[in-house]
Symmetry: C2
Subunit: 165 residues, 2 copies
DNA sequence: ACAATTCCGTTACAGTATTCCGAGACAACC
DNA sequence: GGTTGTCTCGGAATACTGTAACGGAATTGT
């Protein structure tokens, strides 16, 4: 009974993804309004592309799908938008994959903790307070003052584990 | 009194670095002998370059400094050597920096946990069992089976903290 | 000595990200 | 309204990081 059925960190196959995206976009709008940031059309479009799946997306994938009035955009266009979104905690960058994922909760503490499935490539964000606290503690025990932490856990999500059984 | 003076995870300015390197190389020799791996001249040379400092080194930095009989080497030469060294747990790769550091203890568990100083760029490895266990536990609580974890903590080391005070 | 394997040099290229310049959009202020 | 300063975006060029593929050299085991 400890299987996390009631807390689907990993989205189920049947979830309404359109809804996910909509929510993410409104959240972003609100966050930006509150903080006096400009949620421009470009940034909105990039965020939407990041949210197109729960899998991490490469910058050049976004670039390919990005439509700037019929023309293709250039790399800096995408990277600038991503930089903004990351700064605003709306997107996270997964260092181990050189890829980006949308953040479901731009308001919380934000010490990047991620479960990355090697089976289906989907990613779930953790933001676990216990881990956060322990890490902070261990670091400061060594006289190190932590500014930012990034934990990337690779393995198999429940679904893929079942499939590979 | 909890300041980690007796356990210098971060090397002091005055430590004899030549000694560090020597030790790392003999450790590597032993590890390879025990495991039936070939510690070739190239690999030794690359490992030495990685250990040249306690700061992470980029692959192309190594490439520049690498001397193959007067000639310059090509990227695959370095990457292959690094791949081998990583496989043997003699070197770790820091995803957030695209850079490499020597591992001080190639025998232990090896769930990559690193303290990265933004002041002096030096890096210390943690390998903390508590963190390891907690993370494993949290992951499995969610039905996720973890294969590999990587924690990179950015901040200020004791020395730089004192300097910036 | 021979075959099998591992390792290495080399060329070419793929993928990721940044620098720089300039033009346009926007806000605030006089 | 016009002006000024800042933020944003387009685009070219280039830097940085990493791989694929091929062949030859070195090493190991028999």
């Amino acid at each position: 009974m400890t299987e996390a059925v009631d807390n689907p960190v990993f989205p189920t196959d049947a979830h309404n993804h359109r809804h996910c995206v909509e929510e993410a976009l409104t959240r972003a709008e609100n966050v930006c309004r509150e903080r006096g940031l400009r949620f421009t059309a470009l940034r909105r479009q990039v965020l939407e592309l990041v949210w197109n799946s729960h899998k991490p997306v490469g910058a050049y994938d976004i670039l390919d799908k990005l439509d700037r009035g019929g023309k293709k955009a250039a790399p800096p266009t995408v990277y600038r938008a991503l930089e903004f979104l990351i700064e605003a905690d709306l997107v996270h960058r997964l260092d181990s994959l050189n890829a980006f994922v949308g953040c479901a909760d731009p308001s919380s503490s934000h010490t990047g903790q991620f479960l990355i499935c090697r089976g289906c490539q989907s990613v779930a964000e953790l933001d676990d307070a216990d881990i956060n606290r322990l890490v902070e503690e261990k670091a400061s025990d060594l006289g190190f003052s932590a500014v930012h932490q990034m934990l990337e856990i690779q393995g198999l999500c429940p679904g893929c584990r079942a499939a590979n059984a």
